[in-house]
């Protein structure tokens, strides 16, 4: 298949996206049914061409078409097919194409599931998405064409960056982008609401499942990235506060805040302006993330090559999209007043507190990430801001949130029942203290470890307490609707994550050692015996593979084979070997030969490290579970309807605090 066809497909997609932006919005404005009716068709048409372009690029990789410059730069004859396909998004141009494909997937999903929305509103949403798409397609065609030719074609390609030759890579960018781009849906809903003057809170309920799904994907993407760094960077870290990581973390924080703000607006009609603003910011941070990574403004472990033209384009795009949205917001946002009133001790207050902490944390991360830029602009010098800034501040900001977390679900809307708080507090404190004592008996020493156990139990006990209370008080069959289940999963996940993060940090034993074949090193109860290194051929690399036998009290635990690979392009890549377990990882990675058969090795014992990702996976499941809730299934909504349909209270008022 000719790569030029891919180029043509992209240009056709650009034209369709332009139409998709204009026609439905004009239709909604003029009240023209035929124009509005084009929305779905145009969206599906655009999707078809983008998918075609994506397929053609993938085909070029699969068939080793090195006449395509992008393929020549990122693939190689000896690269396994799996990585050839993943190499499609291994560098700048292809990952943009992936971004486009995913935006189109979300749009088509909206066409499929959202067609019961009021026609004018739906048309505006699709129009806004068309606008987002138009900008990115234009960007791609003008500055980052993945189908550029390189003639005469080289006989072989340069190979994919070996750091990216890992199953984690095939997974990480697509899921991350699903999250990033998914926030465009909430954004489009918000803009459509502002455009149409639909400032009642109906649109929020329609947007909620989409926000939750996007946030779930973003969580998964971040977890995958973190796990990938752990395996592939060879030194056992799982989070570095690297600018690119921060770029994905900022929308995550805003997304978490948005999920809760949307719940308040949906259920209580409050915080309408704030929800609008967060919807805009969620997507703005996704774009900012793309901008930071693509422009090369911030150098980082995995920033792509610098290109000023690209940076300028994204900057202009960012200015138009975000600036335009905020201007629209300034002109049309609803008054702050409105919504049901609430007491100081209420679920609303706790959720506002949570929102505040999440937003401030996001601002803090942004400050640290962008400060080097400010330093440059003011000519102070080359500055870097590292983990010592982010880590403690983030913990500090999250402390009130974690403390308040168990009480949010236990509080009623409007006014919390203080006796419930007291009862819950007593039990949660008791459980947390008990867990601390149990931890102490099991050998937890040091305030970090005890803090980890206590804080994690605090959160998890809160969720359990809520679950039990709900089980007792709600009628069978209505105990745990999906929305509530999602909340419980995600909150419990936070507890698991806290345990993992704090315990790994405080209990890990990390040693860099020099070992000769036959020598041993002891870490905790484990003995690591080094058996030496031998050469091993791979498909597109040559590996030096070490053998490490691990025993505990003489009984064999595992035999690990860390590798150091030299790829055909000459790049060297360390592959750590990990004996994974629920309670601990044993981690070995190969350093350098020190001569005389001796090698330098990293030998780590990392307890509870899996809990970090386990917690993340629970949070993701929580996000996805909410999507399934019956409340969000669209019934045919009358165009004229302006009053939010109020569901009949399913449970007696006394249980209202149970509503998520």
């Amino acid at each position: 298949m000719s790569p030029e066809l891919g180029q043509v497909a992209l240009i056709l997609a650009l034209l369709l996206s332009g139409l998709q932006c204009l026609l439905p919005i004009i239709g909604a404005w003029r009240g023209s049914k035929p124009l509005m009716a084009t929305a779905s068709t145009l969206a599906i048409g655009q999707f078809t061409f983008v998918a075609m372009a994506f397929g053609i690029l993938m085909w070029a990789f699969a068939t080793n078409d090195f006449s395509v410059a992008y393929v020549a730069q990122n693939s190689n004859l000896s690269l396994p097919l799996f990585y050839k396909l993943a190499a499609v998004w291994g560098a700048h141009e292809g990952s943009l194409l992936l971004w486009m494909l995913i935006l189109n997937l979300w749009t088509v999903a909206l066409v499929a599931f959202g067609n019961r929305l009021p026609e004018a509103f739906f048309s505006r949403v699709i129009g806004v998405l068309g606008f987002v798409s138009f900008g990115f397609l234009l960007y791609m065609i003008t500055t980052s064409n993945p189908f550029g030719r390189m003639l005469p074609a080289p006989g072989n390609g340069a190979d994919l960056n070996p750091v990216l030759q890992d199953p984690g890579l095939t997974f990480h960018p697509p899921t991350l982008y699903m999250g990033y781009v998914g926030f465009s849906v909430a954004f489009a809903f918000a803009i459509a609401a502002l455009l149409g003057g639909e400032l009642k809170s109906t649109w929020v309920r329609w947007a909620r499942p989409w926000t939750n799904a996007a946030w779930g994907f973003l969580t998964l993407g971040i977890v995958a990235g973190s796990a990938w760094a752990y395996y592939e960077l060879g030194w056992g870290g799982w989070w570095f506060w690297d600018p690119v990581e921060n770029a994905s973390f900022m929308p995550w924080l805003i997304g978490a805040a948005l999920i809760h703000a949307q719940a308040i607006t949906d259920k209580r009609d409050g915080l309408r302006a704030w929800t609008l603003l967060l919807s805009i910011f969620g997507f703005a941070f996704s774009l900012l993330g793309t901008f930071l990574v693509r422009s090369g403004l911030l150098t980082s472990v995995h920033a792509f090559a610098f290109s000023p033209a690209r940076g300028v384009f994204i900057l202009v795009y960012l200015a138009v999209v975000v600036g335009g949205s905020l201007l629209l917001y300034a002109l049309r946002a609803p008054k702050v007043t409105g919504g049901k009133s609430f007491a100081l001790a209420s679920r609303e207050t706790l959720m506002v507190l949570g929102n505040l902490m999440l937003t401030v944390a996001c601002a803090m991360v942004m400050l640290g990430t962008l400060y080097p830029l400010v330093g440059e602009a003011l000519n102070i010098g080359r500055i870097s801001v590292g983990p010592p800034y982010f880590g403690p501040l983030f913990m500090l900001l999250m402390t009130p949130l974690v403390l308040a977390l168990p009480f949010g679900p236990l509080s009623r809307w409007g006014k919390a029942d203080l006796t419930v708080w007291k009862r819950a507090l007593a039990r949660i404190v008791a459980m947390a203290v008990a867990a601390g004592i149990v931890g102490f008996l099991f050998g937890a020493r040091g305030w970090h470890q005890l803090l980890g156990v206590t804080a994690a139990t605090w959160v998890m006990a809160g969720v359990l307490f809520f679950a039990i209370k709900r089980w007792r008080e709600a009628p069978r069959g209505k105990r745990y609707p999906f929305e509530m289940l999602g909340m419980m999963l995600a909150h419990f996940g936070i507890g698991v994550f806290i345990a993992g993060a704090i315990l790994t940090r405080s209990m890990s034993v990390e040693q860099d050692v020099s070992m000769k074949p036959g020598s041993s090193v002891g870490i905790g109860p484990y003995a690591f015996r080094f058996e030496g290194v031998r050469e091993l051929p791979g498909p597109n690399y040559r590996a030096e593979q070490g053998t490490m036998v691990i025993t505990r009290d003489g009984a064999p635990v595992a035999t690990l084979h860390p590798q150091k690979r030299t790829y055909t392009g000459g790049q060297v890549q360390t592959e750590a070997a990990i004996q994974a377990g629920v309670f601990r990882d044993l981690y070995v990675s190969l350093g350098d030969p020190l001569g005389d058969d001796a090698w330098s090795l990293r030998v780590y014992d990392k307890p509870f490290v899996r809990w970090i990702w386990g917690g993340g996976v629970l949070m993701m499941l929580g996000g996805f579970a909410v999507v399934l809730d019956k409340r969000f299934r669209l019934k045919r909504v009358e165009e004229t309807e302006t009053i939010r349909p109020h569901p009949a209270p399913a449970t007696p008022r006394k249980l209202a605090e149970g509503e998520a």
Binding site: Q73, G148, P152, I280, F306, A330, L370, L373, A377, G570
Partner: protein, 188 residues
């Protein structure tokens, strides 16, 4: 709290904050553009290339000097078999070697001739001629930061352009080729 009078101003706060941020981006980007590695102005541009006399890779007993190359413009590409980024650059050189319209001379930098020959054997040889600088002394005269780097030297032996880092199709189209065309126009 007079809501009617206060509200519209408060609504503009996010926009103003965003605009301020945008200004920083613009300044940052402009700064970066001026100071980026690839655009570090070389003090040698517009000046004669240093005199050199270096052995040929193919026949180490024979030497190539600056004087031998005068009369026609050429590209001098600094590479090495140990250089990771040179591997990235290599397919581009293979694809463009005939398109430059002028000779592409390889400058094997701090490398052993055998390693360089093996490397070229394995990946293909895009160069019309390769000279070797095992000690790196001449490279210091050229102001080589590292490999890869590419110098455009005109018929009179004057350095007209220098690119630091791997050549990419983008760099060639936007920066290198215009300079080469410029030389061609001058030459006629």
């Amino acid at each position: 709290m007079n809501e009617v009078a206060r509200k519209p101003v408060a609504r503009f706060v996010p926009l103003i904050v965003f605009a301020a941020l945008l200004v920083f981006f613009v300044v940052g980007l402009a700064w970066n553009q001026d100071h980026n590695a690839s655009f570090v102005p070389s003090p040698l541009i517009g000046k004669p290339a240093p005199a050199f006399r270096l052995p040929r890779l193919a026949h180490p007993a024979q030497f190539v000097s600056k004087a031998d190359l005068l009369g026609k413009p050429y590209l001098l590409n600094v590479f090495a078999s140990w250089c990771f980024a040179c591997g990235d650059e290599h397919p581009t050189l293979m694809a463009y070697r005939d398109k430059f319209g002028i000779a592409l001379i390889g400058y094997d930098y701090k490398d052993t001739p055998q390693a360089a020959r093996d490397w070229l054997q394995r990946h293909g040889d895009p160069y019309r001629e390769v000279i070797t600088d095992q000690s790196g002394d001449t490279a210091i005269d050229f102001g080589v930061y590292g490999a890869p780097e590419t110098y455009l030297i005109d018929a009179k032996g004057i350095i007209r352009y220098k690119h630091i880092g791997p050549l990419t199709p983008d760099v060639i189209a936007k920066r290198l080729e215009p300079k080469i065309r410029e030389l061609e126009r001058e030459g006629t």
